[in-house]
């Protein structure tokens, strides 16, 4: 079975065990948690009414959703802090978690202690950083004056003048320059800032300071920070002093960092422990959000695989007074999610199936059928040993990098290689090896006919899938009498039979043709009246959902569409053959070009280009065409894809 059977597990337990139980769930992992409150509200979480369940039953009346009570943010905050300190090198260790008993209180106090130890070192580093920032500012400030020979103390203590330095935008600098001669101060342009502003030094007489400040303000003059009256020497000497201090501070900082790292290293084990425990509790809080709580009990719901039932029962047995119940769709659970299970060969193709839709829980998983036919069609259309190997290698590399479609590509490439041997083609050249089957271009009709036959086989299988899917859903109308049901299938087979007889493929046409014709007409009639017929058999009333006349007009058109569809669906598969031919033809065109140029190097270049072009472009087109056959010609017949994907715990809970 490629779609796993899932069952709903409902649990009621005593609140004092809730953390341990949640931890078991977290470690068990393969479970999709459902909001218990929602299950209870929708009446699916049903406790058998027995004396010993009274407490739990009464609890229903005063339930609270875990959503309103749980808060994992504090744990997450501390975890993130630890993670930051260790630059993300800590990781959740499931094995030790599973083994040991975890103590939340201890972990929290440990983390707290740990943090306090670090605060000291961090504080010192922060101080140094602040000091460094101030020093850098001063360095920039004094460097504008580095050619000044005077002592700064003299400038600061001028009796009748004050000086200021600041920057203005380029445009405002132009404005300032045009009023140089009417401003009551002396203005020096001393340099440019990194952000493209121009820096000026202004000396203004103290009597006129207010006026000149007004003008500077009008020019959006922004004073430069970093001047400090403690620096009294010449700017050059000051700069030397500053540089010296910067070096010293940096040295101190790197020493502190070494200490800090040593400290971190020393405490790594304990930090890891705290990290583990707190991450776990963060996760548990999230799990508990999905639970419901009464005063004494917790209520939990989740989907698990049917085969895990015993394992979960064993877990439940550890806790006294814990009630565990299972239900499947037959006994009142909601619509379960779908968990796909395929072997290594088919698994990558699940991605393609999910692109269309996740199978419904009561539907056959189309992945195996799609995988086989998709690989076959691709190989048939794109048969080449060399190009196939390149595709496979590309797929292998992508697959190892974690691209799911890469794995699909690897499989397609291998099929392409296989068909390459069948056609005897290596990088387009047909002279190197003998074909095991045929050369497509030499036997065009065979290839096209083979394509149609392959299509017919695939359609047959699709009909069977469709019939099974519809009958599983107890849909008699479509499953038995529908155009994709038994009647449709039989009609398709008999029409093919009539064609085969006419072309002399099958013997005894004189008896079989009229027989099959009568059968076909009968089947068409059955499809036409499928709704009333199905309702009559299942004894349902009324026979027609809408009025009878409306139904027959609609059904008549559908009939027409069905017959047309049978023809077009079948012929659609000719493309498999056609692309097999295109593949050869395209290379032949390039080969002709290569011969025409009569230049070894250019010819070689053309052939290389041809291969790249064919692999990239034709590979893409063929891949799309093969997928189109699946989605359009086949899936539309048998597949609904309206399921919900199964999401186990670890996909839902992610701390970061």
């Amino acid at each position: 079975m490629a779609v796993e059977n899932l069952i709903m597990m409902d649990v009621v337990g005593k609140i004092k065990y809730v953390d341990k139980f949640a931890k078991d769930i977290f470690l068990f992992n393969d479970i999709q948690i459902v909001d218990a409150m929602h299950e209870i509200d929708s009446g699916r979480f049903i406790l058998p009414i027995r004396e010993e369940n009274m407490g739990e039953l009464l609890g229903f009346a005063q339930l609270m959703s875990g959503e309103t009570m749980m808060d994992e943010k504090n744990f997450v905050k501390t975890v993130n802090k630890l993670n930051e300190l260790y630059k993300g090198s800590l990781s959740l260790d499931m094995v030790t978690l599973a083994k040991g008993d975890t103590d939340l209180g201890r972990a929290l106090s440990k983390a707290k202690e740990f943090e306090n130890n670090l605060v000291l070192e961090y504080g010192e580093i922060k101080e140094i950083n602040d000091r460094l920032e101030a020093l850098e500012k001063s360095r920039t400030a004094y460097s504008y004056l580095d050619e000044l020979e005077a002592n700064m103390s003299e400038l600061d203590s001028l009796e009748n003048f004050s000086f200021s330095m600041g920057s203005v935008t380029k445009d405002n600098a132009a404005r300032l320059k045009s009023i140089y001669n009417s401003v009551t101060s002396i203005v020096f342009h001393v340099g440019n800032q990194e952000d493209n502003e121009e820096v000026f030094m202004i000396m203004s007489p103290k009597d006129l300071e207010i006026e000149s400040n007004r003008i500077l303000k009008a020019l959006n003059f922004k004073p430069i920070e970093g001047f400090n009256p403690e620096y009294t020497e010449t700017p050059k000497a000051i700069l030397e002093k500053i540089n010296h201090e910067i070096d010293m501070q940096k040295e101190m900082k790197s020493k502190l960092l070494v200490d800090l790292n040593a400290h971190l290293k020393e405490n790594r084990k304990e930090a890891t422990e705290s990290f583990n425990t707190l991450s776990l509790y963060g996760n548990l809080s999230i799990i508990k959000k999905y639970m419901a709580f009464s005063e004494e009990n917790f209520y939990f719901s989740g989907w698990i695989s049917k085969r895990d039932k015993q394992q979960m029962e064993a877990v439940a047995a550890k806790y006294p007074d814990l009630i565990i119940m299972f239900s499947d769709t037959n006994s009142g659970s909601g619509k379960p999610p779908t968990k796909l299970k395929n072997n290594w060969l088919f698994r990558p193709f699940e991605t393609l199936v999910k692109m269309y839709g996740v199978p419904s829980f009561n539907e056959l998983d189309p992945t195996p059928f799609l995988s086989i036919t998709y690989m076959f069609c691709f190989g048939f259309m794109f048969g080449d040993v060399g190009q196939g190997i390149i595709l496979a290698l590309a797929g292998l590399i992508l697959g190892m990098k974690g691209v799911e479609l890469g794995k699909v590509l690897l499989r397609l490439g291998m099929c392409s290689t296989f068909f390459g041997f069948m056609y005897g083609s290596i990088f387009g050249f047909e002279e190197l090896i003998h074909p095991l089957w045929l050369r497509p271009f030499h036997e065009i009709n065979t290839v096209l006919l083979a394509a149609v036959l392959i299509g017919i086989v695939m359609l047959f299988i699709a009909y069977i899938y469709s019939i099974i899917n519809k009958l599983k859903k107890k849909d008699i109308k479509e499953g038995v009498f529908g155009k994709n049901g038994i009647c449709g299938f039989a009609l398709y087979a008999s029409i093919l039979g009539i064609l085969g007889l006419n072309f002399g493929v099958f013997p005894y046409p004189e008896i079989l043709v009229p027989g099959l014709t009568i059968l076909a007409v009968l089947l068409v009639f059955l499809v036409l009246i499928r709704e009333p017929l199905a309702n009559y058999i299942t004894k349902r009333k009324p026979l027609y959902k809408e009025t009878a006349s409306e139904y027959y007009v609609e059904s008549g058109f559908e009939l027409f569409e069905m017959l047309l569809g049978m023809l077009s669906n079948t012929l659609s598969f000719i493309r498999i053959g056609a692309f097999a031919l295109t593949h050869v033809g395209l290379f032949m065109a390039f080969q002709t070009l290569a011969i025409l140029v009569q230049n070894g190097v250019i010819s070689f270049g053309i052939l290389i280009f041809a291969n790249i072009f064919i692999i990239a472009l034709e590979g893409l087109i063929v891949g799309i065409q093969a997928l189109r056959l699946q989605f359009y010609e086949l899936f539309s017949k048998y597949y609904s894809g309206d399921g919900i994907e199964f999401k186990p715990v670890d996909l839902e809970i992610n701390l970061n």
């Binding site: 404005r175 009008a218 959006n220």
Partner: protein
Amino acid sequence: MSSMSKSKHAAINTKALAMRARRINDKDFLELIKAKDLKEVFLYLRDHTYYGDFLSKMDLEDLHRTEIEAHLNDLKVRETEKLMHYLSGTEKNFFVILLIRMEVESLRVLIRGIARSADLEPLQGLMVYSEKYTKVPFVRLFRARDWEEFKKMLINTDYYRVFEIYKDIKGTHELVMVEKNLDRYYYDLLKNRLLKLDKKSNQDLIDLERRNFDLLNLIWIYRGKKFYSLSREELIAYSLRGGLELNEKRLLSLVNAKNLIEIKALLTKSDYAFLFNHTETIDLFMERRKERYLYYQNLKLFGSSDSGLGRVVAYVRLLDFEIEDITAIIESKRYRMDSSETKKYLIRPID
């Protein structure tokens, strides 16, 4: 060369022509002037003009003059963004200026709110800006409680530097100066991006924008002298660069002029004498006279410019004037002006 730039702008020019065809015509304006009150103006705009899309969500029973204006400007944002799809590089960069103008005006509304210590939240409806192109975090700005907080929220924008040195804006003088600073930032940006455009294909546009600088400078110097009694240096500090006729030297001589008569004398030979050639209504209609002058110039630019960005920029400017006129009409309803009085305040001449 010119034929190439013609074909380069063929699509956007055609788009601008098509957009302009939907504009409000004289007949519409007469209807709007005739309307009894704000509600009738609103209904006409909503049901008969291309502003309808932007007005349809407004509550008929709770109309505010300023909010209607903001919604009219939403159309301008949309049209400007649409035209932007056709541009790239320096041209697009220049065009963004038209959106920045609205951003600046929206900031002005907020700054005035802060200056009078008002709650900014109710001003949301008056904001006009391009969500796609703005770097100003408008949504957060409404939560600013004072000037310091407001400035801090702008730290990642150019505006921070514009406002940085102002510690407080409570005083009227401070507020005026902050606004002047904001305007100067905008026009410097406009000038710098304008000068990066291709000169040959955009000559007409560049000249017109530079005339706008001239007019703004004239009005500034006139008012600065008359109402704010600023020093010559401050007048220069806030004047704009890049004017067409009024270069640095002429600006200085205007600043140095002792009275209106001297200013008039300096302008006799310029194109701008019209601003002051009146006896009593100089102050009242100065702005409108400038706008009407620019309106005609932009009409000309729209009609004749077939290379570069001239036509497209003119389109947006004309849209500006249209919105200003509608705004003036809305205003006139408040003062119960009759139609002949209202017409005097419109940029476009209507008989």
